[in-house]
Subunit: 363 residues, 2 copies
């Protein structure tokens, strides 16, 4: 059994939980090595304190599951079979009377929960996220190597984008060029829809790219990431095209100072909320407190947004092996939108910044 599964079974024993039923594809990939998007079909991994685990998946994916290195039972079902009948039968063959389940309460839907409630009456349900978030939060050496590579490719993607900036090009033109070059490098997918925003579009923290053309005197904001062997990167850079005015420059300098100060404060023992406050105070003191409407960042790994959330209220203490984003921003409608984001790894001695593209204001 791999180390990750062993840690999960140890937790089940310690908590006296009879079985975990895992359905989030990212958690299944983490625990089993099998990566799959089942859409609305059931993909499940059942893990027990002592008995052998099993995977259940659409029959057409059984070979892929086996080829991914999964050594235990794999149950396939066709579109006309009832997968929950198989789950019930295989679970009861291992443990007659389940009294305590662990399920992903942030993922399992009510329909599937009701299947469990009716097939295993009287059981109680604990959150599996408690252990899965904790395990996934601390990256091992193999994961760190993949994240380094994903970040290197994100740096490359921003570089491509910056080189494409030219008066009259649209946001979508530049996205097309970035993704073309990145995919030519062998990347199978982006972490999320690539964002290139300029002018008024950049002044919304969640703008949608379109046919807006780049003009001199505007910022161009890149927010993108790549998936490399299952691991995500996430970088934001904002660059000025042509001459910008004093207020735009002040906004840029403030975000940069907030970002770099938070990055440099990152080390074991610091609390997540302290990092958020460090950045937020700088922005507040510059008079833009009302224009930084989101948290400082989020965990990063197999999912592009994962535990922990780097908010002003999170008391979590940083530990070596954690990887998360630091991404303060200021968005003043009609003036400018600037965000700068790095992916950082907490090390024994402090911090390693995984994204390395320069943070220069001008092209």
């Amino acid at each position: 059994m791999n180390e990750r599964l062993t840690k999960l079974t140890n937790w089940l024993k310690q908590e006296q939980i009879d079985a975990a039923f895992i359905t989030l594809p990212d958690n299944i990939f983490y625990l089993s090595g099998f990566q799959s998007n089942p859409h609305e079909r059931l993909l499940g991994l059942a893990v027990f304190p002592e008995q052998e685990p099993f995977l259940i998946c659409p029959s057409m994916e059984v070979n892929d599951a086996k080829n991914s290195g999964w050594k235990y039972e794999v149950i396939g079902y066709s579109d006309t079979e009832r997968p929950w009948d198989f789950v019930e039968e295989r679970v009861k063959a291992r443990i007659k009377n389940i009294q305590k389940w662990a399920v992903e309460k942030e993922h399992l839907n009510v329909e599937r929960y009701e299947e469990l409630l009716s097939r295993f009456p009287g059981a109680i349900y604990k959150s599996a996220e408690a252990i899965l978030n904790e395990l996934r939060m601390i990256k091992d050496q193999e994961e760190i190597a993949l994240l380094r590579k994903a970040c290197e490719l994100a740096d490359f993607a921003v570089q491509v984008g910056v080189h494409e900036i030219k008066e009259g090009k649209t946001e979508l033109d530049i996205i097309a060029a970035i993704e073309y070059e990145v995919k030519k490098k062998g990347v199978s997918g982006m972490s999320f829809d690539t964002m290139v925003l300029t002018g008024a579009n950049a002044a919304s923290p969640h703008g949608t790219p379109g046919n807006t053309k780049i003009q001199k005197g505007d910022f161009v904001l890149f927010d993108l990431g790549v998936i490399y062997e299952g691991y995500c990167s996430d970088i934001t850079r904002t660059v000025a095209y042509g001459d910008i005015n004093d207020e735009q420059e002040k906004i840029y300098r403030t975000v940069l100072e907030a970002e770099e100060t938070a990055v440099n404060a990152t080390r074991p023992g610091v609390l997540a909320k302290d990092l958020d406050s460090i950045a937020r105070n700088i922005i507040h003191q510059a008079g833009y407190g009302d224009y930084f409407p989101h948290r400082l960042g989020h965990g990063l790994g197999i999912s592009v947004h994962e535990y922990p959330s780097m908010t002003a209220t999170n008391e979590l203490e940083l530990k070596p092996g954690m990887v998360f984003t630091i991404e303060p921003g200021i968005y003043v409608p009609g003036v400018a939108g600037v965000r700068i984001e790095d992916d950082v790894l907490v090390t024994d001695g402090g911090v390693e910044v995984l994204t390395k593209f320069p943070k220069s204001l001008k092209l």
Copy 2:
């Protein structure tokens, strides 16, 4: 109130349900016009039989929600506030004692369900999918126009890919070229990760594209779609590169016959399962029954996989306005993988095929 919301409120009245709480982004887009991916944050739409509906979203998206045309209350919350407190307060201000909720049982997670259970004790929960699937299944004229355009762009994308086929090019090379040209046309995103598969890779119905090079004598399979103004297309074409052997050709002809026969049988009054059987029987009679391991197709619209599922057991009767995929395939390891997929609209008189790229065997 728009027609879609009116239909939902009418259903609530008819079923004597006090309130619906909708959290699936695609359903919120359908009902409100506001399109957003909130990731792990709460995005919710509360709808009542008589009272005014409200939206709740992260505060940084409030302006986007208003700009999307939503005319009713929008509640924003920051990352340090508790959005469920707002939900509870606003719902209770409208209806003191909720006795019956409608929620998306296929989407709402256990954690959020437990929030509702504890804040509105004693209520019972009905599936909101019952009505939402039925509403979304029948497309209106505006939706059909968008789907036609999304399919036209999918045809274009396949054309780009077919023109790129050349000995030595990799699957990822061709994907990069397709997405580049499509995004240059103003498309903001693909419906799902574009698949170009060749050789042994194509013999898995869910293969992953990589650095496999195209060789003469192989099939090249394209499965892709684009999102156009929120609506998805989904097309598959398989083409032979160079000379293929007799068994490969037989497989191709069988899939094509199965696909075209099912398309031509599509009209109001036919059952979903009948279409599946028509295609499956042709494949079975050709001796490949064991190599068609998936359903015939799936509904298509705002989601790339939506209700209904076109399976061998679905008794649903086809009605004008339904849009779904027809996509039989045969996957024989070591020999060939062929799938052909069209998006079809059920019309009063029969069927309109929305994807039009030719289904020729050879380049």
